[in-house]
Amino acid sequence: MANYVLRRMIYLIFQVFLVLSLMFIIFRLLPGDPARLVLGPLASEAEYARYRMQMGLNDPISVQYLRYLQELMTGNLGSSTSYSQSVAAVILPRIWPTVRLMLCSLGLAVFIGVPAGVFTGIYPDSKVAKGIMGLWVALLAVPNFWLGLLLVQLFAVRLNLLPSIFAGTLLSMVLPTLAIASRLIALIARMTRSAVMEVANEDYVHFAQAKGLYQWAVVVRHILRPALPPIITMIGMQAGYLLGGSVVIENLFSYPGMGQLLLAAVSARDYALMQGITLFFVMTFLLINLLVDLLYSQVDPRIRLE
């Protein structure tokens, strides 16, 4: 087990390295002259040239690349041009809000999606099940920003029940969480359903019943538990959606997280900041995948012993 974790961590480092290199390439491709952006359009050519020399922008690519890696290793993410602070200082306070939003959305999606999936998997022919499955089809088609708008329209404007802008309260977390979670609910529920349906026909489920166990014990211990691996895998695959969704939804609800920051950085052409934020997203994504892999091996003992 420890061996497996170690191997995974090494692979993680390798992935991070690759991604950083990829980011380097992308960022060099982005349009705009950094000197002009930082100093403004009114400075003289000499000043631009001096800036470029200071920043090492005239050095050969390989040198820039090495310097880039070195800076990252030491935690130096550069300084943000739009905020006049170090990138790290700008990013740090916004990490937790975004993570919190993601966790809440994921939690809600699992809390609703898994039971829904189990129910429709065990009673596939009931009318309720068919209705629920139809709902999923609709949920999957709805773009989350539109859903966010609709939710605001309904709950904030019409019914005046929930706040439309994030204000730090628990209540104001509800709509953003719902907006992101909706698609996930449908995906998790669908996956749970198909996993449950596959497992429900296994012999050990029949044996569990033959042992006279309570019905809930059969469902939870002998159907749901063995069905978890594909569900967990899918959650890992949706990590990207969670992160990406936060960008749009944070914008919609003025939620002070990384997503909103990214958009601000893009419109200000603040490349250092963009890079820092991207680093965060990518690291989070890789971390989530690592967690998913570890969780997977916990849930299925056959994997653990390999």
């Binding site: 982005l30 709805v142 605001v152 329209q153 404007v157 990207g240 958009l263 997203f281």
Partner: protein, 287 residues
């Protein structure tokens, strides 16, 4: 040479599909929806070559004159939506289609030859996939620009890595199945025939994946539009129309309902087709 064969087979497959359509409600519904959007995309600008502004008729609710109401410049929303559809549809279909041609050789080589080639291609694809598609799209669109072609290329870039991974998976499946037959086929010249066989067998699964990627493409494209990174006004695009609606949604909710509805419907269309195709293929396999 290979591309030509490829395309011909795709059409042959579609022919077979149409025969099977009546059996599956979702698939039929999806195809009808997509057909509707295709028609709109082509006919839209012909029906509404210009959409006049009418500042005395601003932000009106749906009425007999304007079925969807009017927007903040007095333009008929229905006309805007109908013409806006073509951009999202074109970007999705074009972007994913282009992604297919880009990803196909990579996926084929990675899956078929394995080994170092596979590892090299997979590593690049996987690392591109560590970027959430929306985030990646935001960056790429900054590089390529907020034009229609820029958006299309953005979609191509975001969807290609996934496609490479899927195609590679399908090819590996096929390779394991028919590899034994391949062992009997003699000579390297016939490796081209093998490629044809491999391609033909992956087409079904690939079609499913393409639909689902197209659905995702619509989501990403309209999200970009919504964030203001898509095509610039006055060109209508569903996401940008929706973002306008956002400013006025307290007084004119119709501005936000209709564009969003048409985005959702398009996504639904692709989803239904993708799921329907998958069901068809699965049922054919179990028969």
């Amino acid at each position: 040479m290979i591309l030509k064969t490829d395309f011909r087979q795709k059409r042959g497959f579609a022919h077979g599909l149409i025969r099977h359509l009546p059996g599956h409600a979702g698939l039929t519904a999806g195809c009808i929806i997509l057909l509707f959007y295709a028609i709109l995309s082509i006919a839209g600008p012909m029906i509404y070559p210009r959409i006049p502004e009418n500042l005395s008729n601003v932000l009106k609710s749906p009425s007999a004159a304007n079925w969807f109401g009017t927007d903040e410049l007095g333009r008929d929303l229905l006309a805007r939506v109908f013409t806006g559809v073509r951009i999202d549809f074109f970007i999705a279909v074009g972007g994913v289609g282009l992604a297919y041609f880009v990803a196909l050789p990579f996926g084929l080589f990675a899956g078929y030859f394995g080994g170092k080639v596979d590892r090299a291609i997979s590593v690049v694809a996987e690392s591109m996939l560590t970027f959430p598609s929306t985030v990646l799209a935001i960056f790429i669109v900054t590089i390529f620009g907020s034009s229609v072609w820029g958006l299309l290329l953005t979609i191509t870039v975001t969807q290609s890595p996934q496609l490479v991974r899927y195609i590679r998976g399908f090819v590996i499946q096929i390779r394991n199945m028919e590899y034994i037959e391949a062992a009997n086929a003699v000579g390297s010249r016939l490796s081209f025939i093998l490629l044809r066989h491999v391609l033909r067998n992956t087409v079904g699964n690939t079609a499913v994946v393409l639909s689902l990627l197209a659905s995702e493409a619509v989501l990403v494209a309209s999200a970009l539009g919504f964030l203001g990174l898509g095509v610039q006004p006055p060109t209508p695009e569903l996401g940008t129309i929706l973002s306008r609606g956002r400013t006025y949604f307290t007084i004119a909710p119709h501005l936000m309902i209709f564009p969003g509805l048409f985005i959702a419907l398009l996504i639904l269309g692709f989803n239904l087709v993708g799921d329907g195709l998958r069901d068809k293929i699965d049922s054919k396999r179990t028969r």
